[in-house]
Symmetry: D2
């Protein structure tokens, strides 16, 4: 309810300011709808009175809102062309710096070269709801980027500003549960990107039972809008498959008896904030929260998809595949292969070999792992703990990951070292089991799956061993 | 209480991070206490894991806290020298821009020339309580500026960052009253800069009666810390003197019957945020609040001191003063002059002439008015409404302002025009009465004071007339 | 979330208390599960230490919870038999009063005769969640009342206590909207008793649009549990039918332009509180809320069902019905009669006559109106404003009300007088139109329906005319 | 701030109701101010519309407020005379019960004999702020009780109602600290009854340091009004004197290292609630709070005054005193005796003997201990742990307690047994040391004081030994 009160308040201020400005909403746009936005932007930048600033900011945002898609694209192009750095100021500053290359003049050069967009965006934030409007604006901008490379400079300004405004020091962690406002919960349903939430009853099953948790980061200026959230299951052991974890008829675990917290879904909510990363902070702060609330929890791990695996296998890996593996992989063309024991038996050995290769050896041209989820968790300092055979039998899981799921382990005592090994040397930090040499006569053991789960008991986690990237 | 919970939470995260880093608090400092802060800053910037980021930020802030005053100065100098722009990156960017002066390359130049301090300060904000620590840090920095001009570049980075972080869109207006937390109220007592609050009873007299209001801006990351606040008295008419307004035995006005809201004190709270202006936004938003809550209030004005008047009179004005005026002014040497009718009679005519000159003609070299309070309110679009004779008989009021007080009028319908007249043309927007030609035979009327208050009734406020500055 | 914290807190206290008592949960019950509850109740009443009081209360409630339905019935019978008034104390008090019939001795007699259950129930409330448990307990009790008249005394004690505890001075009005916690909203879905809410999307349509409101009373000891709520539509005019009001594709009314607030559903939530009335207070307080928030709203009315009409018509009224009316009414046997113009034409005249009779003349043996909804609103001081032909075409509406709906008008200036006319004299306060004599040649006008809506415009509401009950 | 909003809201409702009633405030009183209150009370009871109920309740409370002291007394006498039980209803009920002494008829008798005041008071609670007004009303009533015994029946009704309304299940525990609202804190200063708080700085010293705690019970209908609060010091050991505990320059204890929590002051805030006990619940719940927050705390004890000691000694004990003791006690006439070592040496032996006698043997006619503080703590199940010699050298401490202070120990494992021993058998549960036989040749040891504190270490607390009262 606070959100509402607060919004009302800001709204009223702006309305008043508009009256002062003599800016009836309809007249803020010129004949072509475009000219006048430029004018308004210039007026906003020109240093008029601050109350006018609030109303002018609102006027710009309203005018922008009334533009159609093409108009918005033109608005962005205008920002690119007319609201860049002040060229003469820049020339002069470069000149001064060239004459004497001091720290002061370098700083001077920096501030003189600031694109005028930066200050424009900052002032647009004066308006009620400005922050939300700017995040939405960038979402639209992102859609035009591919076809208009000139907009990249504009996007860079957005990212720079958002990185400063959404600094970790300003984010607030809140638990999401069944006492949370519906206006927040409906966004959890909408934004869940990993394992779809099918409605309010499904949502309740993920939030309300004593062995479930959900946490999100919020920003004070985006009330009721989660930025990123993570869903957690409290378990006895690290799970190897998602469907049993979310089953309607599963047996719950009393929160006080759980030994393991499993992060089974992390979703970013604001497309307009892509490139501004929170996930890293979120997982670590949630680990701290859970450690304090539930001291019995000793293991923190994920149950993650392998979204790029099938695509990689069918393209990159195909070339180097043995005829035998090719034959095994071919059975995957049957979308129900995982229900047929004989097909399962035939696909498992090649899939295991390929999964290992995918995680430990396959790299992007820049040397990073091919798998995006792996890049995220390894970059956070987690280690690749276990590859699970037939862990996700949803259509999406079969199609993208050939049913594989992966656990990444967050061991706070090793996070720093893991991160350094990954970040500085490109090592893939993985458990001994994931790394263990392939033993052809016992294929059932090579890929640590359900059958050998006991062998992966968290207590026996050993210091990570890295593989240097080429 | 939320503040406390929230702080605890952040604290615990950092503590954990520290353990991970292997950073016992004592060992964060080298033999000379200085080297290791540099190292920590470099590590913080180097892109280590983000959990480490939080702990590293805390480690830097703790190490800084343990420095003595000289150590802090050295820390700032180090920031100036070693954390400026990356010179080679800058050289390259300048080179590229010189080759082709495109918008893209100008933007590139801007981001390549960013002083490394900027990112360092942003990352220091990862720590629990980072924002508050940075604001305090700048307060200390300001103390070293006069003797170390090289620190100006560092200060500029602070101001740039704070201007972005404390953007009006992130500020929250809250009413301060007798139900506010003591931890906030004690700061109101401490930070009141205009008319000292003598203790909790005095505070209560300013907050609790139905005809008093107090509002402050807060930032979500600085809980329990007002940034700026304004004290307001609801009155029948615009008052001309402060002591009756604050008298213990004054007669209150039922809030619903008040016609006038008087801003009699505005105080900034955070020295570390000086140069980041909020006052303008505050007054205007409070006007909106009051208009909504109390529709009977039609006039919004200040009762302001004239802090530079006596100093100006005794220095700048002395030269051009007539012998007669000089003689009149000489009576002010008696600190009790205002209690003696004969002295009052003799000082009034010259003081009136001088006050008019001070407000309407006296200028700084840059053309702005001499009086700092006048600069603030005229810059906000207010108009100089009335000069009040013997309006403040406190020792400070007599000593600095010769007892004068001034009303500035905030008329929302004229704010924009007033601001433009002042900002663009340097006009002093003043009421006709302040401007009325001096009539030597009726000295009692020339300076609109108590006796002629009725003549200044707010209803008759006419469009402002400007005086062009020379 | 506060609820949770608070509950945790209370729970922990009780747990501790239990340890002190040496009361492991399983052992609180004797072999027959019954004996020991009596013992626990006696111990709770006996004045043991208060910490034990909290734990003893919890122990009784837990033991009760483990009883099956028959066990609970026995528990209530035990309360009836063994926890009534203390007979010897009563005898003595009666004796003393008979000797001297003073006020003091009458008071003495009152307190000496208090059933021991009263204090027992009060002490059960010491336990965490005690209030909720007692409300549920009475719900169960109500189920046993019909077959066990001896339990009426027990029920009377519950009602007496709840009437005191749920005093209007302790109730808190809260608006329910889309920012309310899901745990509250799901109860709105569940408890809606008039026009079923079909799920979360349907709920949102009733809460979220700017022309919808919902308010509920809460009690501080029953967090997240609404006691009663009312759903409101803001309209231009008083509506005559429910389906258009709730249609998915209806055209909304800007809240600021609405002239009428329509209470179209009032639902009690807690069966255990039946007999403790809140509805009266709720409507009147909501009227006040809306008057303040939306001064443009001038008319407050209901759109209400006529739940007893068809039953009354088919039983009571049948006897005195003319052959012609009987024939008309017979067409109602076709459940789709309202879709056939010819059937509509034939049923309307008799239904109109009967509806008038039902509202204006039909009475219960105690002289009150037959219709329960009419009793509620007339008892609140509303007046019967209009009877709407084919106002509710839901199966329930057709089946129970023959499609009729009714508007009751809440005119604050007449509420008091209306109430008195109804309460003291049994008058049915109705608008002139409802009362207007039946004009056989213009049947379409006799029952004020859609066609003549303009004629019922709220402005022309005249002082009510009463009909004395026989 | 919520409080304010809520109050405004209630106020507006009532105002409206008044308009409806046609009750301008001034006209609510008859010529003699009295008649009309009776009328209003009768109307309030008569079952008028409920909105009128709210306004009528307000009208009665307003009319009462305008009465002077004598008028209030008359109002109470009127309540006693005219609003008692309905005599004819009572007669009939007694008659029916006499005919057949069933449970049902006993219950009937109870409800028929309820004084009309009960319902009147319940309905007065409909008004905004009704609960607070009723609590104040009883405070006034208490002042008239001694001279008007007839009012005792009225008082009994208040106590009955308040006991039900302020049931422990409705109380909320809140920590009071430096973030609490000033409006609450000023009441802590005002209501502190044991060791006076000298102003805001002194208050801060009691609330803000990490080794201090303060908790209060609140009732949801009395916002901003603590009912009872307790002040706590966290210590290494159980302290024996109050002045060092509250000294400005004391050395603090890190909260995490404290082993002992000392309740050094418990104050009731609402005189109008006297007789409705909360202290018992408060201490026990606070013990639970502290156990959870600070698991290192193992000992919970009080540092309590002995307020009745000197009076008892100078009156009751004087008769049986030996000449030698009489001589020793005589030295207490010098108010500075405790500063003179020789006087201290002479007074100590007799004071020790007398203190023991006071605590262990001295009884009221009803068999309970003479000391009121002892009655409270022993009744709660605490045990008398240690008598401290020269524990309070404040004027009040010297004058009332001869400087003695006492520790009561709250050991949750023994509370139940202790309570029973005290409540059922009148035993004074005391530590062995307090009970240890007087050894005439080592007087310094007999009274466990500072010198022998180690000997009283909490760990060695043994099962309590009781002394049967005569």
């Amino acid at each position: 309810m606070r959100g509402t009160i607060f919004s009302d308040l800001l709204a009223s201020i702006t309305e008043r300011g508009r009256a002062v400005l003599g800016l009836p909403q309809r007249e803020t746009q010129g004949a072509d709808g475009q000219t006048s936005i430029v004018d308004l932007c210039e007026r906003l930048l020109s240093g008029r009175g601050e109350a006018s600033g609030t109303a002018l900011a609102r006027a710009v945002l309203d005018a922008y809102d009334h533009l159609n898609e093409a108009g918005k694209k033109d608005f962005f192009l205008m920002l690119a062309e007319s609201f860049g750095s002040d060229k003469s100021a820049l020339l002069e500053a470069v000149d001064r710096w060239t004459q004497e290359e001091t720290t002061e003049r370098a700083t001077e050069l920096h501030y003189r070269s600031e694109p005028r967009r930066q200050e424009l965006l900052r002032r647009l934030n004066y308006a009620a709801g400005g922050t939300a409007a700017l995040v939405k604006m960038r979402e639209t901008l992102l859609g035009h980027l591919p076809s208009h490379p000139a907009l990249r400079a504009v996007d860079r300004d957005f990212v720079h500003l958002f990185s400063s405004w959404f600094n970790r020091g300003f984010l607030v962690l809140r638990r999401i549960d069944w006492t949370s406002p519906a206006i927040v919960l409906e966004k959890i349903i909408r934004y869940e990107a990993v394992h779809q939430i099918l409605g309010w009853d499904d949502l309740r099953r993920r939030l309300d039972p004593p062995d479930r948790r959900c946490y999100a980061f919020f920003h004070p200026a985006l009330l009721d809008e989660p930025l990123i959230f993570v869903e957690i299951a409290l378990c006895h052991e690290v799970p190897s498959a998602i469907q049993p974890l979310l089953a309607h008829d599963r047996t719950g675990v009393p929160a006080g008896k759980a030994k393991t917290a499993v992060f089974y879904s992390i979703s970013n909510c604001q497309q307009g904030l892509s490139g501004v990363s929170f996930g890293n902070f979120l997982i670590k702060q949630v680990v701290e929260e859970l450690r304090r609330d539930l001291p019995g929890i000793k293991t923190f791990a994920t149950l993650s998809p392998v979204p790029g695996f099938v695509r990689w296998m069918r393209t990159v890996a195909m070339a180097g595949m043995s005829a035998q593996d090719r034959a095994g992989v071919a059975f995957l063309d049957d979308p129900q292969w995982w229900t047929e024991p004989c097909l399962v038996a035939k696909t498992r050995p090649p899939l295991e070999r390929l999964a290992r290769q995918y995680f430990l050896d396959a790299r992007l041209p820049d040397g990073r792992p091919v798998d995006p989820v792996a890049r995220f968790h390894l970059g956070n300092g987690a280690r690749l703990e276990r590859i699970n055979w037939i862990g996700d039998i949803s259509p999406k899981g079969i199609q993208e990951s050939a049913g594989l799921m992966v656990n990444y382990l967050y061991d706070l005592d090793w996070i720093e070292a893991n991160h350094e090994a990954y970040a500085n040397n490109g090592e893939i930090v993985a458990s001994p089991e994931v790394r263990s040499p392939f033993s052809p006569d016992s294929p059932g053991n090579t890929l640590p799956g359900r059958s050998s789960r006991r062998g992966n008991a968290p207590k026996r986690i050993s210091p990570p061993v890295g593989t240097r990237s080429k």
